[in-house]
Amino acid sequence: MSKINLEQIVSIVSKIIKINEKDININSKSSDFYKWDSLAQVNIILEIEKITEKKIKANKMGELTSIKSILNYLK
């Protein structure tokens, strides 16, 4: 499994929800951005799976809705 760091997570989220990376930080969560909806959530998880080569279970998808929770989960 490849490791992923904060910058990479921010970059993935930024690319998917089309928000400048500068506007996203470790405390950002889905409710802060109207474009971080359930479809964006699926795309974020799929992208993370691709980079880390780690399968994320469906039941975790609803919990990983903030930068911090994603980072903690992948630690």
């Binding site: 109207y34 909806d37 039941n59």
Partner: protein, 436 residues
């Protein structure tokens, strides 16, 4: 027993509340029995003969949950999960949808099978979803320890038993098990009572009055012209919001008297700027259930995830949401229209970077929701089409002739609009006066 009935407010609630705090002083576990017996009494008050159904559901699902949690073999665990979910859906389907299925079979094949006319057990749709969430959480290893008493409290805790919010085991049980929450808390009592009063105001003053005009309109739909149709649909759209959110406020306030915080279920939904946003604000716990227990697992089960696949799943998830509300094709239309609305939003976000003006998008979203509620409230498709025709001006533009005693409802409608669009909601109040 309804929350706004005198017997609940002035007899049942004070007795259970007193017993809850009084017995907690002397015994570590007595509060559990107070809540279970109180919940059973509350449930049986509606129809004592149907109360065994919830007992059967509690005992069998506790057994299923234990079997799932204690199984070491993964395939066996999965089999039990599937069987238990199937059992719960079948249980719900028999009581709620059997006549609907029979009527449709009769219509399609020109048969004359007799309907079963089974009574529908109160709260079954809610506790079925709550139970499924519990079973999946057992499967995922999120619930480590439980017993029949604790599981019973989770299902039968009366403030959220009848109409939600749909709660999760791990949200509720740590609160019940926190000894601090069994001590009388004046701050929570005050805040709880304020929230109950807000709920009562929404239900009795706003919703019940709006219902008068909405019911009149939906009954006399053939005679409705432009203004009458709009008044009817708007009255219902605000009636259902204040009815449901008023009920949820009362549930939240009552739970707070027991020092229990229920999750947010409504967050000013009519201020939503898209249908996606609407479902982030309307019946939030149902939307979360649909997202976490149907949508995400369904998407993850796909071999190839594509935008089109996801849109199809979204549509069917909302068809399920529609039929969950009741056994009628009109609920299916309601759900389908929301599915279409969500797809439209997603396609728009994918194709256009341009962000629509906030007020315009709020206006469009509200009107779309208002249109979908016409199907939700109608008795049949004729009823819906007549009202929509009226709203489009196809039945003329005369003013409706309401009797004088109903004119005050128009003022109540304006107050409802003002509250919905301009005021902060109950959860803002809760956050502001954070409970200890």
């Amino acid at each position: 027993m309804l929350f706004h009935s005198p017997v609940f407010l002035f007899v049942f609630l004070p007795i259970v509340l007193l017993l809850y705090f009084y017995t907690s002083k002397y015994s570590k576990f007595a509060y559990e029995y107070v809540l279970i017996i109180g919940g059973m009494f509350f449930y049986a008050w509606w129809n004592i003969y149907l109360s065994p159904i919830i007992i059967v559901s509690i005992i069998s699902n506790f057994f299923f949950g234990n079997l799932i949690r204690n199984s070491i073999q993964k395939t066996f665990k999965k089999k039990i999960l599937i069987i238990s979910i199937f059992f719960n859906i079948l249980f719900l389907a028999i009581f709620k949808y059997s006549d609907f299925v029979i009527q449709n079979i009769n219509y399609l094949f020109n048969l004359n099978i007799k309907t079963l006319n089974l009574p529908f057990p109160l709260a079954m749709s809610f506790f079925t979803f709550q139970t499924i969430a519990y079973l999946v959480d057992c499967y995922d290893g999120n619930i480590k320890k439980t017993n029949l008493t604790q599981y019973s409290i989770f299902i039968i805790f009366f403030p959220q038993l009848i109409a939600g919010p749909i709660v999760k085991y791990n949200h509720m049980m740590p609160q019940f098990n926190d000894e601090k929450n069994r001590l009388f808390n004046l701050k929570n009592l005050n805040l709880g009572l304020i929230i109950i009063l807000i709920g009562l105001f929404k239900k009795i003053f706003l919703a019940d009055n709006l219902a008068i005009l909405a019911d009149t309109g939906f009954t006399n739909h053939q005679n409705l012209e432009f203004f009458g149709s709009w008044l009817t649909s708007l009255c219902f759209t605000f009636q259902i919001y204040f009815d449901f959110s008023g009920y949820i406020d009362m549930a939240t306030g009552i739970a707070l008297l027991f020092n229990i915080r229920l999750p947010t279920n409504f967050n000013s939904p009519y201020k939503a700027t898209s249908i996606i946003n609407f479902w982030q604000k309307w019946h939030i716990t149902l939307a979360n259930f649909l997202t976490n227990y149907i949508y995400f697992p369904w998407v993850k089960s796909l071999k190839k995830v594509s935008f089109i696949n996801i849109m199809i799943i979204i549509f069917f998830v909302f068809v399920i949401a529609g039929i969950w509300h009741g056994p009628s094709w009109l609920y299916v239309i309601f759900g389908s229209l929301h599915g279409v609305g969500l797809i439209t939003n997603h396609v728009y976000r994918k194709l256009f970077q341009y962000e629509m003006n906030k007020y315009l998008s709020c206006f469009l979203t509200f009107n779309y929701v208002n249109l979908t509620f016409v199907f939700f409230r109608s008795e049949n498709l004729d009823n819906s089409t007549n009202i929509i025709k009226g709203m489009l001006g196809l039945n003329g533009f005369d003013f409706p002739s309401y009797s004088e005693d109903k004119m005050y409802i128009i003022l109540i409608l304006l107050i409802s609009m003002l509250i919905s669009f301009c005021f902060k909601n109950t959860y803002y109040l809760i956050e502001k006066f954070k409970t200890s």
